[in-house]
Amino acid sequence: MAAKQVSRRRFLTDMARTACGVSLFALGLGLYARRGNALPPEFIRPPGALDEEKFLAACTRCGICVRDCPYGILKLAELGGENPATGTPYFIARTGPCEMCEDIPCIPNCPTGALDHALTDIEKARMGLAVLIDQEACIAFQGLRCEVCFNVCPVRGKAITLEYQPNKRSGRHAMFIPVVHSEYCTGCGLCEKACILEREAIKVLPIRLAKGELGRHYRLGWKEKAKRGGSLVTPDREHRFNLPEGVEYDYSTGRIYMKDKSGKAGSTADPAKPKGGAASILNRGIQEAK
């Protein structure tokens, strides 16, 4: 009987000892996972990757996507350093951007849905978002012609456009400013790779870092009005201009008309056919501004 009690005690002690040891291990692993699962911003997931949180539950870390990438840009994270979660795939835009293959070969063999098999149009991929992050360094802002990022962009003319701004330094030139549009940018990183600076001024960032978000309660009056087809509160009041007597401003065309003698707006001031006179001169100004 005594022997049995001792063995029961030993059994319980053994169990407690193991439970304690393994719990410590689990605690350590859990705490390490917080750091080990972090994704530093310069590491970009392959196209079709689920949101990072879901990706870490779905990716088996097998590297089949790495093998199927014809450009060899994907790598599996190694243990240690500032790397993403051990064994997960990534690329670094500055050294090897996604070439945006039309058939997206990295996705179909993914054994799980970590890379979304529903993504078949590479232009719908959202690996990140290019951001022209340093306007002080970008030479376009010095008034110099570069436009390399605009020219290499595979979603040409949509993801990056050139917007003209007056060059205030010279007073008579235009600056060709590259502007990224999140509606089209796939985050492939070709622009970051191509940026001519020593260190790139345009970088692909994770969307969570690159995008702001308007408060959900915001309503933009003009959009709401367009949706409804008219004012939501009181009817619009007619705007009053301080125009000389006999002159009228037309809302819809933005033009100025001379009233004819009957008091109705006449067509004497059609700028397409300038006839001289006060209204024509005023309208010519509008035309030039356009």
């Binding site: 080990g36 699962n37 539950a57 088996t60 093998r67 243990l79």
Partner: protein, 311 residues
């Protein structure tokens, strides 16, 4: 009489020759390295037979395979990405190891086996006899907690540090600081605990032992009457506590002549080292298995001294 440790394997060598005394060990090393080689053939030579790594892979670009512990972690983490391919890959691996013996993975596939076998060999050569005592159920706790941590973090957290996938992936894709983990396992097995990792802690070993527990392919000991108690098999067996029921102890109790414990890795070292040819691989049908004792029973037999533990 128990063979002195310095003479371990001498009888087998004398009787069966080098090839006979290391047959299963050589076959295992060839298998382990071939599997690694098949994964490396693609990136190094452009011949794509196996793509991926042991965590999941694609055979001839068609047959998917998914590591069970990875699949279970996905379930625990609530992964949204489990596809038909994932499930098929998981089932293929499950069925295969349920048939050939789950822990055959440990002895014939796992790359860490080479590391821990080497540590064990060096331990013997250096005469290190001390060992921390780790309870046998620790590996099950490890398996449980691996799943708990996966659920708690919502990620395959164990795969951040899993020595098995680190080693295999590291060799194929790049090791990084993974060497430190492998070295840690080696030092732990060498200096702290005998068969410390594979034999006590590895949660994958626990899972594979569960998967293959009913496998028919077993180490049989039909010739156990010839056993001369040299104890050499206890010295080389990675799970020595599972041997007594298959040997004279089991014979006295009327147990079937086979190693029936699910912890057996089907490594075949006992067959290699035995000069009396007690062991040979064979089949154990369910009828015969009915008489199998529990693992506790076997361990108790060792504790009670009816069977002497390896020196």
């Amino acid at each position: 009489m128990a063979t002195p440790i310095e003479e371990l394997g001498h009888d087998a060598l004398a009787k069966k020759g080098w090839l006979g005394a290391y047959r299963w060990l050589i076959l295992r090393r060839i298998t382990q390295l071939s599997i690694l080689g098949l994964f490396l053939l693609g990136p190094l030579a452009g011949i794509w037979i196996l793509k991926g790594n042991l965590s999941s892979s694609l055979l001839l670009d068609t047959v998917p395979m998914v590591e069970p512990i990875v699949f279970l972690q996905m379930l625990a983490a609530g992964a949204v990405g489990i596809t038909t391919t994932t499930v098929i890959g998981f089932l293929i691996v499950m069925v295969f190891y349920a048939l050939v013996g789950g822990r055959a993975y440990c002895a014939w596939v796992c790359p860490v086996n080479i590391v821990t076998d080497t540590a064990h060999w060096l331990r013997r050569k250096l005469g290190i006899r001390t060992s921390a005592k780790i309870p046998d159920h620790a590996r099950w706790w490890m398996l449980g907690f691996v799943l708990v941590v996966a659920a708690a973090t919502g990620s395959l957290a164990w795969e951040l540090v899993n020595p098995v996938s680190l080693t295999h992936r590291g060799i194929i894709y790049g090791m990084g600081a993974g060497w430190a983990v492998i070295l840690g396992i080696f030092a732990y097995d060498l200096l702290i605990a005998r068969h410390g990792w594979c034999g006590h802690l590895c949660p994958m070993g626990a899972l594979y032992s569960a998967i293959g527990s009913m496998s028919a392919i077993r180490m049989r000991s039909d010739n156990r009457a010839a056993c001369d108690d040299c104890m050499e098999c206890f010295e080389v067996c990675p799970e020595p506590r599972i041997l007594p029921p298959a040997l004279k102890q089991g014979m006295k109790q009327g147990l079937p002549p086979a190693v029936l414990s699910s912890l057996c890795t089907n490594c075949g070292r006992c067959a290699d080292i035995c000069a009396k040819d007690v062991f040979a691989f064979g089949l154990v049908l369910p009828r015969e298995r009915m008489a199998s004792p529990s693992r506790e029973g076997a361990a108790k037999a060792v504790d009670e001294g009816t069977i002497k533990q390896a020196p």
